[in-house]
């Protein structure tokens, strides 16, 4: 095995072009488990931990560009106000030690259907910036996930950053697991209100071969929501039902398909109710919010 340690992005791209089978390693919280358990024995490990700039984020026009090497801990600490949905998801990842190392870039690289970063990225229309020596590609999150642990990334490409706009409305993330830390999601759900466009974005985790949006549920809300009124209970319920119906879950050790569909319907209704409470502001008697949800 060879340990490649580029210090610039160009060097990293050159190394990946020369050794397309090289396994990139960022926080190592997925890669090292595979190495420790002999699941993988790559010829080359490509450490991205020293690539200058990969651990930075910046505001670029009306969007944030967040380097693939920004850890969950930093997303929570530095971007929690601008990206509340992603920050909530980040808070549920593993443990403090895992969040100190793990990155959204690595979550995208692993492309697990259970990755907690994905639902909020889908709900907020994130775009993934990938690059090889052949050029840059901007891939919408919806097109990035292609199969179980398979992404649109070509062998010679690396993830450089992901882009998304700071929240313009309330965002929530919800996740089912057996305890409050260190759990792979049984299923998860993210919602993002885009009040300017009178649109609601969604993301479902761990309930289909890839993370997905609940498109029919989004369309339903675009038609039915009255943005100037309290949330109609029937609309919230139907939204939940449509989210549950969008999933194609399986039975496995973590839960049954039926349970996942039910849980998604409940999470979708609740998160929409919480988001609507924030959207309408306090004093909306017909929308009592979290406690009653």
């Amino acid at each position: 095995m060879e340990f490649l340690q580029p210090t610039t992005w160009d060097e990293a791209l050159a190394a990946k072009a020369e050794h397309p089978e090289a396994v990139p390693i960022q926080g190592g919280t997925d890669v090292m488990v595979e190495l420790n358990f002999d699941v993988r024995r790559p010829e080359h490990l490509l450490d991205l931990g020293r690539v200058a700039g990969l651990d930075r984020w910046e505001q670029n026009g009306d969007r944030l560009r967040i380097g693939a090497g920004v850890t969950y801990a930093r997303i929570i600490g530095e971007l929690g106000d601008r990206l509340p949905g992603l920050a909530q998801a980040a808070r549920t990842v593993g443990s403090p030690q895992i969040r100190n190392r793990g990155t959204v870039g690595g979550n995208l690289g692993a492309a697990s259907p259970a990755g907690d970063g994905h639902p909020p990225l889908l709900a907020a229309d994130a775009v993934v910036e990938v690059e090889s020596r052949r050029g840059i590609r901007m891939i919408a999150a919806t097109d990035f996930y292609q199969g179980v642990k398979r992404s649109a990334l070509e062998p010679d490409e690396l993830i450089r950053a992901f882009w998304l706009a700071p929240a313009t409305g309330p965002q929530y993330f919800s996740k089912i697991g057996t305890r409050n830390a260190m759990v792979i999601a049984v299923c998860s759900f993210a919602v993002a209100l885009h009040p300017g466009e009178r649109r609601v974005g969604t993301g479902i985790g761990s309930a289909a071969p890839t993370p997905i949006r609940a498109v029919a549920a989004e369309d339903f809300l675009a038609r039915e929501l009255d943005w100037d009124a309290p949330l109609d209970e029937a609309v919230a319920r139907e939204f939940g039902a449509l989210v549950g119906a969008a999933a194609t879950p399986i039975d496995d050790v973590r839960g049954t398909a039926a349970y996942r569909r039910h849980a998604l319907a409940v999470m979708a209704r609740r998160t929409l109710t919480w988001a609507w409470r924030d959207h309408r502001g306090p004093g909306d008697a017909e929308n009592p919010g979290r406690g009653a949800a």
Binding site: M1, E2, F3, Q5, I25, G27, G28, T29, V31, M32, V33, L35, N36, F37, R41, L45, D47, G49, A73, G94, S95, P96, Q97, I98, N100, R101, N180, A181, M182
Partner: protein, 156 residues
Amino acid sequence: MRVSFTVNGSRETVDGVWEGESLLYVLRERMGLPGSKNACEQGECGSCTVYLDGTPVCACLVAAGQAEGRRVRTVEGLAEGDRLAPIQQAFVDAGAVQCGFCTPGLLVQAHDLLEHRPDPSDAEIREALAGNLCRCTGYEKILDAVRLAAARKAGT
């Protein structure tokens, strides 16, 4: 390959490191620092927790080469000479140690918590220690130890 980094204040260099090896393996098997424990090798138990450039991480999930040139502080580096660090003394006094396997990781993680939150709430303690498993104590005495260390810190 050769890997060189600072451990508990002293610069160490080791040769013959396998490229896929973890920092935990290097510390335990090549540098004679068995304080950090190897229990799961998959980030689940926290018994290998060390500071890497001042941030607590699972040493089993850091590739050895990623530590090159960095600063590592292990449980062996918490005490000052013969004097235990306050959090270590508190673990002893509160009876927070049974088999002791989880202790080194918990000490580093709790040490970091008290650096940032000298007077943590119970919820904050639980959250900070959520990635450290203990099969013996039932955690109550560990919480006692952290509260004790915090109280002593406030008293001095």
